[in-house]
């Protein structure tokens, strides 16, 4: 068999197997981040600062500088993701580094505080950073747990196809409901007017849809023993709705943590600016 490992310019081709961002290059960034954290801890133990470990000591400044540079660099992931430039970079490697170096901030930045926490702008910066990190951990958990469910639920259907399917069944419902009694027709009408995207974030995330017009219509028509065709159409619609709602729920769950992570990052940068300016101003 032919050797196709190398392309024409002798570059090694991308790996022939999938490797997630957590395992990237055999946990390269986990190793680097661990080394960084251990070095920071060791330094903390050995550094001879008086009267006690403090953000204003030489070691404190060192850790603080490292942490602030890291924070700024970690923020740049948002730019990297959207700025499609040429070059041999991989967003997966960036994500991997982002995750592990971000986690290592727990060590570096906390050591930078010298455990002197209080009710002030300095601790606010630290607290916001911890909020960003915690929301990030939430994100990692979501990324690890949900994609499989998203894939299984959609069963090769795209979101557009799901919506088209609903519209198609609505058209059939509309026609099949013509001979119904007014009370039943009203139920079907409510189901036809239903907007799957309505209901807000909480509803979408919780996956609970009490008062769903289609479910109501199905119950009502079953109770009154309405046309079998309408019933079966409503049953099918309920099934499709359930799938689409689960799809939207999973997608929302994969994204919702970012609505904490990103704004908190900007708040963090603002607090950090205040922290740095105040420290130098009141030196």
């Amino acid at each position: 068999m032919r050797d196709r490992d190398l392309d024409r310019r002798g570059r090694v081709r991308e790996a022939a197997m999938h490797e997630g961002f957590l395992r990237h290059r055999n946990f390269r960034w986990l190793k680097i981040a661990t080394a960084l954290s251990l070095a920071a801890i060791a330094g903390y133990g050995f550094a001879d600062v008086t009267p006690r470990p403090n953000g204003g000591s030489w070691y404190g400044y060192t850790l603080g500088t490292v942490a602030v540079l890291l924070i700024l660099w970690l923020t740049l992931l948002g730019v990297r993701k959207r700025w499609m430039t040429r070059g041999r970079w991989s967003l997966k490697a960036w994500t991997s580094a982002h995750v592990y170096l971000g986690l290592s901030l727990i060590v570096t930045a906390t050591l930078h505080t010298g455990f002197q926490l209080g009710w002030n702008v300095h601790t606010l910066a630290w607290a916001l950073m911890m909020l960003v990190i915690l929301s990030g951990i939430w994100g990692i958990v979501a990324y690890a747990a949900l994609p499989k469910a998203l894939s299984s639920n959609r069963e090769e259907l795209t979101q557009t196809q799901m919506l088209e399917g609903l519209r198609a069944i609505d058209r059939q419902l509309h026609e099949a409901a013509q001979p119904l009694a007014p009370s039943q027709a009203a139920l079907v009408q409510k189901s036809l007017e239903q907007n799957v995207f309505a209901g807000g974030l909480f509803r979408r995330l919780s996956g609970r849809h009490r008062g769903c017009a289609t479910a109501k219509a199905l119950r009502g028509i079953r109770r009154e023993g309405g046309q079998e065709k309408v019933q079966s159409l409503l049953e099918r619609k309920s099934g499709m709705l359930a799938r689409l709602r689960r799809h939207l729920q999973l997608k929302a769950m994969l994204e919702v943590w970012l609505y904490v992570h990103v704004p908190a990052t900007f708040a963090l940068i603002a607090a950090l600016t205040a922290h740095i300016v105040s420290v130098f101003f009141f030196w």
Binding site: M1, R2, D3, R4, D5, L6, D7, R8, R13, E14, A15, A16, M17, H18, E19, G20, F21, R23, H24, V79, K81, R82, W83, M84, R86, G87, R88, W89, S90, L91, K92, W94, T95, A142, Y143, L146, P147, K148, L150, S151, S152, R154, E155, E156, T158, Q159, T160, A168, R171, Q172, E175, K251, L254
Partner: protein, 816 residues
Amino acid sequence: MADRVRIAIVGSGPAGLSAAARAAQLGLSHVLLEKTDHLSDTIYKYQKGKHVMATPSALVLRSDLDFDAGKREIVLGTWDDQTAKHKVNVRHKSEIKAIEGEAGAFVLTLTDGAKIEAETVVLAIGTQGNPNLVRCPGASLPHVQYQLDDPGEYVDEHITVIGSGDAGIENALGLAADSAQGNTVTILNRSGDFARAKGANVKLLNEAAERGRITIRLETTPAEIRPGEMVLETRDGQETIRCDRVIARMGSAAPRAFIESCGIEFSSPDREAFPKLSPTFESTKPGIFVIGALAGYPLIKHCMNQGHDVIEFINGNKGLKPADEPLLEAKFAKFRARRSVDEWLELLRSNVSILNELSPLQMREFMLDSEVRAYKPDEVIFERNDPGSSLFAIAQGNVLVEVDKDNPRITVPIAQGSVFGEVGLISGRRRGATIRAGENAVIVEVSRTAALKLMASVPAAKRALTRISIERQLLQMFGSGLTAADLAEVIDASEVLTVPAGKHIITEGEDGQDIFVIRVGSMIIEKQVGGKPVFLNYLPAGSYVGEIALVNGGKRTATVKAAIKSEVIRLPGEAFLRLLKAKPRLLDKLRADVADRQNINSFIESRKDSFSGVVDMYSATAGFLIENGIGEATDVLLIDENLCVGCDNCEKACADSHEGLSRLDREAGRTYAHLHVPTSCRHCEHPHCMADCPPNAIHRGPDGEVFIDEKCIGCGNCQRNCPYGVIRMDSVPPKKPPIFAWLLLGLGPGPGEPNKAWKYKDKKDGVEKPKKAIKCDMCAGIKGGPACVRACPTGAAIRVAPEKFLGVARLERETD
């Protein structure tokens, strides 16, 4: 009393129209016969507002009619006006039934019974052909029609549509669309499903049937048509239904049979063959000339030029040089030797053996799609592992093949007149060896299209190429110091077999010693373990199989079947055994290959005992990928849905790397065990999209990518031909403001493909942008490689060659 003219021109497309205009201009008595009631039916049938392109741009237009790229309406309008201005004698609704007689006194019989006498005939009927007719009693009744112009015309009728293709389904849907029209629509399908039609159409049809709008009758054919009713032949016997109108959409027959009935010979029985023509477009029937798409020239400009030229030739202008003369002159201009174009063509034709039988006209056509280059001694022509599907012919000098990849000094020469590069042409895989010029050489590089055309029109060239390619493939594959002479016996006894997808070439447990070499396509090897077929290996074109039983004796140890429609070379076992006796080094090589393969087999079998589930999954995944056409892919995007968070950053990155249009649809496509094959180009070995590209705008690039260049005319053939639906037709959106303007100031639509509203809002007034075919080019020329893979935040997206992905390493990792 029949009309009598000097020239009868059949067909009023660009070629026929241009010819008629020339005849009118020269004052020759003529008639232009058009089947329909309007000119240029093929272009007339384009959708409204379609942008018609004018390629090749380098070619000068030589016609009495004007033509420039623009909207369909403008192009047709110009022609209508100028046809009238030139006083062209057009006869509408004149479909030709037969052409009889000899040069100087032809009689053309029309379907309406009229007869026209003509001294010469110009056939410019294109390749669209005539609709297939209903063949049952009553088929000629007036309510049987073959076209539906406006579905809104018919009210309260019982209408039966015959045909299971897109045209039939679309007609049926159109007739049933508005319930207020009150039509009762039935569609008949001879087979049990609508396999030939687009999925979306079938879905709409089934939906309409569910709503009671359309009655679908499967496995049903018309038995008799009577006024007001129709007898159907169904699975359960005959049945009569009410029927006021029959619309038959059963495809169309190529016009070849008609042309042959006029006494015109084709160059070969191949489907792609064209009529044999002289340099003045005269067919083998003296007095009948063939031009346009039917002559093998599908582009409008070519057609119009030929229309002009053919009338000049008929009128006795023998000195006229074809309009493509400057293009050919440019190809030869770089050579120091001053030869005329005709001398060059003659030199190439006589020196290269596979070109010997070409006519001067074919030679011109051939050279337009080919390039001639001079090489100094030791200059490299192509390198091992270069992608490429063109064929090279040696017009002067010779070349050296580096047969050993580690030692470039070991070479085998190929002499003047012969060809090389045929493996790339036939299998679509990368080049197997580096080739450099031996002495000063003149080499013709023949594009894949030109080479295929050549093989279709010259049977001798096809035979010669097949033999050479088998010989070279065997030499390259087996190495071991073999020479062409050693292989002669085996090759004489060999045969090339076409294997449909799924068919076995070797079945486990059967007797057999033949060796099979995969020439086109790919194979999979399976073995029954514990009562289930287990996937062992994937073999791309250029590999061979069957050596275990030959070397070790005994029954076949595994089953080999085609992953896609493939071509294999069968080498008879006895002849091969004699070769092995004479060549012990070859036997050693085969023994080593056998050992390798048996290692893999026993590894998988051993894993099967302890990791039965994993091995089953490995087999099933391989099966799924092959079912989805991975067997013909060279590079495919695979998404692991255990990792994919659905952010669509791959699509956005694709759009941002390519003029704002995404060439992939992440969500669409098939999935098995969370392995997703999105709708994205697989860069097939033999791309279906290349099959019918009028301007020859689709190529395989230097990194193996199949791409569409700027010559695209937006005809949509490639989109229709792609079985994987990865080509879209769209116009390029306006340029977006830079990303930082969006990030900081919110200007523009942000990353990814802009939505329609933004595209529309930002469009400049009055500038109609043509829709062109858009597909993945593997981010050729972009440093860093495919943007979709680089931009995936979680590592869910990879691009791989199938044999790498299907390799045993995957199983090794999962069972460690």
